[in-house]
């Protein structure tokens, strides 16, 4: 579950960077829901794992949160498509 959370976070961040390209802004319509799902998985993992093993799920959750936040900013800046 922790590995899944981190993998999801890495993929969300990669998707976010790809969506920063000028003509690929609409990719955020896919990447934001994907990152949001990762955020939920990360929070569930955080809640279910032991205190000492939370590092990876914290990293995954932060990555997904950053991807959602910057994806929304990018989407708004580009008018939804740019």
């Amino acid at each position: 579950m922790q590995v899944l959370s981190l993998v999801w976070g890495i993929l969300a961040i990669c998707g976010m960077f790809v969506a920063f390209f000028p003509c690929l802004g609409s990719l955020n319509w896919i990447n934001i829901p994907f990152s949001f799902m990762g955020l939920i998985i990360g929070i569930v993992t955080l809640a279910t794992t032991k205190e000492t093993q939370k590092g990876m799920s914290i990293a995954g959750t932060i990555c997904c949160g950053v991807a959602v936040l910057f994806g929304l900013i990018r989407l708004a800046a580009g008018g939804g498509v740019l």
């Binding site: 922790q2 590995v3 981190l6 993998v7 890495i10 993929l11 990669c14 390209f21 000028p22 003509c23 690929l24 802004g25 609409s26 990719l27 093993q53 590092g55 990876m56 580009g78 498509v81 740019l82």
Partner: protein, 135 residues
């Protein structure tokens, strides 16, 4: 222990990205040009501001590279050949490492015995003769 899992996570993420890149590289070879042009995103920079973005012409460039027309591909987008080469190199590396992972990592994951070279490749600090971290 956590280091191994982090590296495994990056490895899995890299494989997923490589699979997507593989589809991007394979599409111009198997799909007709008109279909790819229809599927490719329209550059909004061109529509809104009337100027090309750095990625403009990349789809055409990739299609031309797949047909062996390198000069025309360079004319479509100067970076198309470089990007295509980088993506192909990434695919080769990913396939080679995935092959080793399937061949040797499977024993590491299922039989619970220490692996040899795949651990050395993925997990440089693998314990020699130690037990797996997975239970």
């Amino acid at each position: 222990m956590a280091g191994k899992e982090v590296r495994l996570s990056f490895f899995i993420a890299w494989m997923v990205i490589s699979a997507a890149v593989f589809a991007v590289l394979l599409a111009p070879m198997i799909l007709p040009g008109a279909t790819i042009r229809r599927l490719a995103p329209r550059c909004e920079w061109k529509v809104r501001y009337g100027r090309e973005c750095p990625m403009c012409g990349m789809t055409t460039g990739f299609m031309l590279i797949c047909r062996g027309k390198f000069k025309e591909a360079r004319a479509a987008n100067r970076a198309s050949i470089s990007l295509f080469s980088i993506l192909v190199a990434n695919e080769v590396c990913a396939i080679l490492l995935l092959g080793r992972f399937i061949e040797e990592g499977r024993h590491f994951l299922l039989a619970q015995k220490p692996s040899t070279s795949i651990e050395a490749t993925l997990f440089n600090n693998a314990p020699q003769g130690g037990t797996s971290c997975r239970s």
